[in-house]
Amino acid sequence: MRCCGNTVPDANAPLALIAGSAQQRCLHMLNTAAQHAGLRVGMRLTAAHALLPDFAMVEYDPQAQAHWQNFLAAWAYRHSSLVSAQWPGCIVMEMRASFRLLGPWAEIEARLRAELDALGFSHRIALAPTPRAALVLAGVRDGWALLQVDALAEQLDRVPVRQACLPDNVGERLQRMGIRDLRTLRALPRDSLRRRFGLPLLVHLDHLYGQIDDPLSYYTPPDHFDSRIDLGCEVKNHTALLFPLRRLIVDLCTYLSIRDGGVQRFLLRLEHDEGHTDMDVGLLAAERESALLFELTRQRLERVKISRPVLAVRLIARELPPFVPAARDLFEGRAQQSLPWPQLRERLRARLGDDAVYRVSPADDPRPERAWRRVDGDELRIGAAPARPPRPLWLLAQPEPLRDREPRIISGPERLESGWWDGEDVRRDYYVLETTQGQRVWAFVAAGERSGWMVHGWFA
């Protein structure tokens, strides 16, 4: 199976990938429109311009190609457990084991094509009993499916030598010698072939016909996601960043669903001319819903001040915990369009700050200001507080002096004397008071005193 892919701005305009040194620019790859115009791969750029003055040129970037090949290998990994990206411009998948799971080949092929189209890759697909045969057949005719092992040799024999992906330029040389197809080639004595063209040709033929095993290095999915989009121009406002951001997040979610994982923390890096601005996105629970992740990231991005022009956006996710979809009650009585709490929580955190949503839990310390603590995670059980005299529902963050001159004492004192171990020891007598307005106050005085009331809470 072979997928030659590159992302093309406009599929119908002539387009060429340009490679080579500055003095020797030549065409590396062409689309159909460019080929119709007479351009050929390997042609010098000046010659190409003489034939067709106006065609789109994209710098051939081997790194980008490797990147996209890797991306496609990750994509292919969800259709097959044995995927190889060993050959440039090509993804090899072992499909036989997937037939039982995914259905007959026609269905699988249709699905592969639909997904590749959706991802924006032009492609050629072929099915054959050996990986190398699939590579060759895809080059000869798109959509060739060869299911019978016996028919392989017969079909391959008809393949022209130039299209048989022979090593180096052997195909071209054979063609010039008058050896047109593989049948003629195979009829030649092996010894003389080896002497003239070297061992690799024979090994290639044996691999192609399945006469010896063809060991491929198989793809193993990486355990982190790192993708980058070059904006191609200087961007100074948020709106222009949203489109690349959406693409990055959709890619991330594709990747997550392949791994059956989720993302809990990722980094969005806005790259400037010099240096970069990092934006951390942290969630309390693993998620992989692209709409949700996009909305959250957008809200966070809108709060980031873009002081310098942005040239590229990069998304890095290193922690990819397993994703557990939230269990929903089948007979849940809530409204249909209701948002689950984890999503609402992330929306609130995105706008209000990472520490804005929390729960409270009692703690063991007898000092009132330490008898509670924040709970930030998803703890399900909250321990019970030790039994103590009545406590107010509102606690003041800082005790305040009581304005009332003559409060009525309702109960007390309760002496709290504690904290000698950490240097913040307190020695206070707590009383429940009632003010003249009828408010119930939890107030303290220094041990043994009866004046200088400090309000610490309200019995609201």
């Binding site: 609130l348 700050g353 009132p368 507080a385």
Partner: protein
């Protein structure tokens, strides 16, 4: 022009007979106080609606009024959100009042964002009850909150200063606390679905 049968309006309690107590449909959320339930037309907090509590000062017993409801809702597993509370909700006391703290979410927000957070929580449908302190909210903001509570099927509680009592409000129920040296009481200022009852209600500790 569409005609709406008067029965529909009466049934929806958007219209009621003056001087005659409407047909009482007890579909409110019980407050936990039988005396208060008897005062209210729905026999409890109005569902899918905003309830406004008007306070002369913080700490006059507004939480004690809500505690039985919050305790019951959280113990049933519903999420209760508290938006930008003026003080720290003191965990040991809330737990002692029966609230399951695992279902109580505190949301810290600046005054400018608190109204947004209040509306989000009401509208989302993720919470069964939301408490907020919208001090700067005007009539249109309260109407937004009321609509949000309706679409999110949520009990909204807006705790505000008594000085807002004279201002119009879209809340389905408005109760004001009036204190006196012998103890204060809650007066119903407005309730949807019937005339405001003359009696007041006091929480007896």
């Amino acid at each position: 022009m569409t005609a709406i049968a008067i029965d529909t309006l009466l049934a929806a309690r958007t219209l009621w007979h003056a001087g005659r107590s409407a047909v009482r449909i007890a579909d409110g959320e019980p407050t936990g106080y039988a005396a208060l339930d008897n005062l209210l037309p729905q026999r409890g907090w109005p569902r899918r609606a905003l309830t406004e509590l008007l306070l002369p000062a913080d700490g006059v017993g507004e939480l004690a009024l809500l505690m039985p409801t919050l305790a019951r809702l959280t113990q049933a597993g519903g999420t209760v959100a508290v938006i930008a509370p003026p003080y720290l909700p003191y965990a040991p006391a809330w737990q002692r009042a029966g609230v399951d703290l695992a279902a109580l979410e505190i949301i810290k927000a600046a005054p400018a964002d608190a109204l947004w957070a209040f509306e989000q929580c009401l509208r989302s449908g993720a919470c069964v009850a939301v408490l907020g302190w919208p001090q700067q909210a005007d009539a249109s903001a309260l109407r937004r909150l009321q609509v949000a509570a309706d679409s999110g099927d949520c009990l909204g509680f807006a705790l505000r200063d008594s000085k807002h009592a004279a201002n119009p409000s879209a809340a389905a129920l408005r109760m004001e606390y009036a204190g006196n040296p012998r103890g204060g009481a809650w007066h119903v200022r407005k309730c949807r679905g019937g005339p405001a009852p003359a009696q007041s209600f006091a929480v007896v500790a």
